[in-house]
């Protein structure tokens, strides 16, 4: 029986790379989608507000695991069963992130006082100009820290992608453990790698929060 060695460590490092790649896809995809949903949540149209609100409720109310299953098997039913695991996992995590990021950002947008919208409106600015020139710059400062905080959640949640056959860090650990039976060494290494990915993000988030609390609002 092989024991946990350099070859395994290399395997874990590569899997960690996939974890980072999947996190990036989820964050970028979820960010773009979530941004437009956040805008829809504060839109003047009742219909858009209702639809986006329902989307957020639905996504937030569904366990990520079930979301991943639904996408994986749902796509298989419509004949897309050859889809790479990365795409299926990326789609699931993108939807998941979009629901949460939309809600975080909606809160940030709405925490900018109404009077700021009004002041810009009274200067004859269009709604789009008010949003992009007055509200977004202020909302973004508020949003930075919680957004980075959520990024850490995404990284950890990529571990669920193994259910659709994607070999990321956790799954790689499980595979190695199956052949070495050294769970302590293997999963301690896995945990350390997660920590190495997440710690800089948390530290960055804390730093941003500190800076924003001290600096201008």
């Amino acid at each position: 029986m092989p024991s946990f060695g350099l070859g395994h460590l290399w395997f874990l490092l590569i899997a960690a790379g996939w974890t980072i790649a999947l996190s990036a896809i989820a964050f970028l995809g979820g960010g773009v989608l979530g941004f437009f949903i956040a805008l829809a949540r504060i839109s003047e149209s009742r219909l858009l507000r209702g639809l986006s609100g329902a989307y957020v409720q639905l996504v937030q109310g569904t366990p990520l695991l079930i979301l991943l299953f639904l996408i994986y098997f749902g796509l298989a039913i419509i004949g897309l069963d050859q889809l790479p695991a990365l795409i299926a996992a990326g789609a699931g995590l993108t939807i998941y992130s979009s629901g949460f990021l939309a809600e975080i950002w909606r809160g940030c947008l709405q925490s900018v006082p109404k009077t700021q919208w009004e002041a810009a409106e009274c200067l004859a600015m269009t709604r789009w100009q008010r949003l992009t020139r007055v509200i977004l710059p202020q909302a973004m400062r508020i949003a930075t820290a919680p957004t980075v905080g959520f990024l850490v959640q995404i990284v950890k949640n990529t571990s669920l992608a193994s259910v659709v056959g994607f070999v990321e860090l956790s799954q790689a650990g499980k595979l190695i453990n199956n052949s070495t039976f050294q769970p302590f060494a293997v999963f301690l290494t896995v945990a350390a790698l997660y920590f190495l990915i997440c710690y800089p993000l948390s530290a960055w988030s804390r730093g941003l929060e500190r800076r924003l609390n001290v600096g201008r609002r």
């Binding site: 009077t115 700021q116 009004e118 002041a119 810009a120 409106e121 009274c122 200067l123 004859a124 600015m125 269009t126 100009q129 020139r133 007055v134 710059p137 202020q138 400062r141 201008r216 609002r217």
Partner: protein
Amino acid sequence: MSAVVKLTDVHKSFGPLKVLNGVSFEVGRGEVVAMIGQSGSGKSTALRCINALEKIEQGSIEVCGHAIHGEKLDKRALRLDVGIVFQSYNLFPHLTAEQNIMLAPTCVKGIGRREARELARDCLNRVGLADKAGHYPEQLSGGQQQRVAIARSLAMQPKVMLFDEVTSALDPQLTGEVLRVMEDLARGGMTMILVTHEMGFARKVATHVIYMRQGKVWEVLPGHRLNDPDTPELREFIGSDL
């Protein structure tokens, strides 16, 4: 002379609360009208209706040829003609004084940045803050912030300016510097409607004073006659203020 602002029998409620109950008055070009009255008498609401920030239920409002009550009101065209300054300044905190002023002229009127900067300097000059162009709102005193807010509004070259208790949040010594700016504006021929608790200022600057009470125009009188009102209610109101 045709009126720049004309309200006719304006009614406005918030739910069951009747705030404006048949308000009518006119403001001619270059006139300065001061609105006074107890808290809750509907002064702010009247200003907000004039600028189409609130919808009215009955009556009509004409401002610089715009029919505020109409279905086809072009709000942006209206806001190009009407400037408004609030008690709480509402400066954009992420922009410097100069950028606060430049924002609307550049993105609404399409003025070039250099020209807009000159315009901003010019407006800051008029409110006595030429040296504060690069300061962020939080680095300015309340009085200075309020003067930047006035400058920001002026930069759009409105035909009418509305002021809602712009000095109420300020210490007495800061109040003076803001009132001086407004007095200069009035002298320069700006048409102004101002809600104020500064009776001395109203008496000195206002062409007319409108006393609001229970959602109605209770009494209108020339500014210089403010200490000699016709109705006992206004007499009592002014007495309570002195």
